[in-house]
């Protein structure tokens, strides 16, 4: 009951927020937070719960964005159709990618995904006739107000959260975490590990592609070095999750909010040194909050509960 009340409060606050912050700049920051929250939540399903750390999610973000962009560039179709087609393209591509890369474990999977992400970036730079190369694609947006974008981004985040939430409460969640904790043990318990990794990968790629398509429509300009970026998309998604809380439902959203707000402060206050400050932040987070803010808070809360009750609640579904 208490949980339902909290959820309703959060929803109302989220809906009213842009009516309080009316300046376009503030609304832009809110939209950016929601985009990263959606991306982080989607990555978390594969990376945090199923333990398959992808350093190449930019590939799916970029594919979604470029699907929308190319519809407008070559076929004169509204890029809004990209919201339908973009995630489909990302999901379709994720199937062979997953089947190939899931042969590898741990850091080797991470490296293979990193290489794949970079391959997509280079191909989209060099395939000039189809993608317009490094010049990128620009569209003229029909909607210029921020408010509609805000609610779309909110919907996107809600979708990401709902899919993740539903999956992890079911058999899928138990299987994902089993695979992360010990793949051999999982396999010997009758869990088809490759198939379930794919079950985590598909929705993750779907949401990431959808967010990419939304990004194209919102920002109205993309180029391969931005949407397929290793540092600014792939690594950033992981950071958002690690900052907020690996394998927690709300962690990525918390991470996105803190990260976007901090980087705005860094950018406006420090100028050139902002990336340096950011790098230092990355190191500190990993060294001192290895499971993210929500993850560590959870641990602390659990410890307190145990002291009070002398027992501990079942702890699979955190946050």
């Amino acid at each position: 009951m208490k949980k339902v009340l909290i959820n309703i409060t959060v929803a109302i606050v989220a809906i009213l927020l842009p009516l309080v912050f009316r300046a376009p700049y503030h609304q832009h920051i809110l939209i950016t937070i929601l985009i990263w929250a959606a991306l982080g939540t989607a990555w978390n399903l594969l990376g945090g719960y199923a333990g398959q750390v992808s350093f190449g999610h930019a590939a799916f973000f970029g594919l979604g964005a470029y699907t929308a962009g190319i519809l407008a560039l070559h076929y004169n179709i509204s890029p809004w159709w990209g919201l339908l087609l973009g995630p489909l393209v990302s999901t379709l591509i994720s199937i062979p990618v997953g089947l190939i890369c899931f042969r590898l474990r741990g850091p080797y999977f991470a490296l293979a995904m990193l290489a794949l992400g970079e391959i997509f970036r280079l191909v989209f730079i060099n395939w000039v006739t189809f993608t317009n190369g490094a010049k990128g694609i620009m569209i003229i947006p029909k909607i210029t107000m921020k408010l509609p974008y805000y609610y779309m981004a909110l919907g996107l985040f809600f979708l990401s959260l709902t899919i993740t939430g539903l999956l992890i409460k079911s058999r899928f969640g138990y299987y994902f975490i089993s695979i992360r904790e010990d793949q051999d043990a999982a396999e010997s318990l009758g869990i088809p590990t490759t198939r379930y990794k794919l079950f985590a990968f598909l929705p993750s790629a779907f949401i990431t592609g959808l967010t990419g398509a939304f990004y194209m429509n919102y920002i109205a300009f993309i180029d391969p070095n931005v949407v397929f970026s290793l540092a600014n998309v792939s690594v950033m998604i992981i950071l958002v999750v690690m900052l907020g809380g690996v394998a927690t439902l709300w962690g990525p959203a918390v991470g996105a909010a803190i990260y976007i707000l901090l980087s705005e402060v860094f950018r406006t206050r420090m100028g050139a040194a902002s990336v340096l400050a950011f790098g230092i932040l990355v190191c500190l987070v990993i060294m001192f909050l290895p499971n993210g803010i929500v993850g560590e808070l959870d641990g602390l809360r659990k410890m307190a509960l145990r002291k009070m009750n002398g027992g501990e609640k079942s702890g699979l579904l955190r946050g």
Binding site: Y175, E187, G190, I191, S314, G315
Partner: protein, 239 residues
Amino acid sequence: MAFFEVRRIVKNFGGLCAVHEISFSLEKGQVIGLIGPNGSGKTTIFNLINNFFPLTAGEIYFKGKRIDSLPTHKICALGIARTFQVVKPLKRMSVLDNVMAGAFLHTGSTSQARARALEILEFCNLINKRDLDAKKLTIADRKRLEIARALSTDPELLLLDETAAGLNPKETEEAIEVIKKISRSGIAIIIVEHKMKVIMGTSEKIVAINFGREITQGEPREVINHPEVIKAYLGDHYA
């Protein structure tokens, strides 16, 4: 045809022959022991049965079906579950969640999986620890958890890999009781074990191996008094 049969299985690792032409079989509900000195290939045989490693040669049959080329998870789904000598708890999951992960094999419903898992925890004397994270368990409890998790997949054949290693005498007695209880419920068991007390207390038949080859198999009393078996364990002087 036997309920479960291993027929002339061979495993080579590079030039090293780990298992050579081992054959044995068991009937439904039967308990057999697999004994041999350290490094004689017992755990490798388990890894071959559930296909962690592919066979170099030979065949494995279960309920009349050849299973040696099936993937590990399918072998489990058919009804062969195992425990690990070096325990593999799902560390950041609670004891209950560990067992539920196995129970989901036969149901998609969370509440059914939970109910089944609670039954099994009761059976294995782990019910009081159900909410602890698996990484916090003592070694004895981890061994129990291995068995509980294997049972949660509703096996017809259970492979127990040194479940009594590292246990004190009292815990060993309890382990023997649990194994007997499992056997009474109709599940066939293959036990790999160093503690002869466990083997003698439970097995109807023993297969003795050394250097990956069979020394002898048969009645427990005969096997442990077999001169080759004594030699393998204690050296030439005692044979």
